[in-house]
Symmetry: C2
DNA sequence: GCTTGACTTAGAGTGCGCTCTAACATTTAA
DNA sequence: TTAAATGTTAGAGCGCACTCTAAGTCAAGC
């Protein structure tokens, strides 16, 4: 019943490279993974879920340092310390919201510029192939 | 009338460091800036506007390489080639929209986790200081 | 038994975007 | 006149997050 996954399978499932998975373990984002008799890593379903959550933190731009703090809290106080963990996530949430806001604000200016180019492009094409009507008007 | 700005003033106005301003010029994101008789940079209002737009591209995550392509187009064909420029910005726009979407998707999971911690925290506190009512119920 | 391929490690290397340094010139205020 | 501040350059250095390498172990198929 206990589905154990190889590092390749976890890489395929998460989109992280095998290099990155080992790197994350080395810098203690992931606790020491179980091993087969031959010493190869065998990831549990729980390991996979943890890695998937880690990846969501990364994809929203949380620095490795901060993820390490979070992972350390989970490791050292698995049944308490919820407040500190929540605090880290809540602070990060605010940072991500601010980032989204900034992206949207800057996108407005870029959109405006795209629109501007559309118009310039249209005028430029008109000047190359003027229709008789346009010219006489 | 022609307001010329020092590198410090442009740094203050844009939020970029003087180091970064010189770096951008070196890698041709910014065309060679005018100089005072003593050789110090003097930025025009146009320079400032260009740098501000560049900064919006950077803040939305456009790589320096792509900004270089865009800057090169503006420099080589200031009065045409609007299509290629628009294309770069439009592609970038799509990338930014996708990034915002991904941030929002991942944020849903993080939000869920924060909520989960709120509940665990509440239960943990209840178990420490149980009210008579709660205990008898 | 032997090859092939997936796995292991410690540690080196990479790409990006700055960021800083050293050595020197110029400007400004006291 | 002189000290402090600001500017210049080429080039080195840095922090981040991977990404790869070398040298070796192990398991499966022929």
């Amino acid at each position: 019943m206990e589905q154990e996954l190889t590092i390749q399978q976890v890489a395929a499932a998460t989109g992280l490279s095998v290099h990155t998975l080992r790197y994350y373990e080395r810098c203690r984002l992931i606790a020491a993974i179980g091993r087969s008799t031959s010493g190869h890593r065998r990831y549990s379903a729980d390991d996979l879920r943890w890695i998937e959550f880690l990846n969501k933190l990364r994809l929203t731009g949380m620095p490795i340092r901060q993820m390490q703090q979070y992972a350390e809290l989970v490791r050292s106080q698995p049944n308490s310390g919820f407040h500190s963990r929540r605090q880290i996530l809540a602070d990060h949430r605010e940072a991500v919201l601010a980032q989204i806001q900034q992206l949207q604000d800057n996108l407005v200016v870029i959109d405006w510029k795209i629109q501007h180019y559309c118009e310039l492009e249209a005028n430029f094409n008109d000047s190359l192939k003027p229709s008789p009507q346009t010219q006489s008007a």
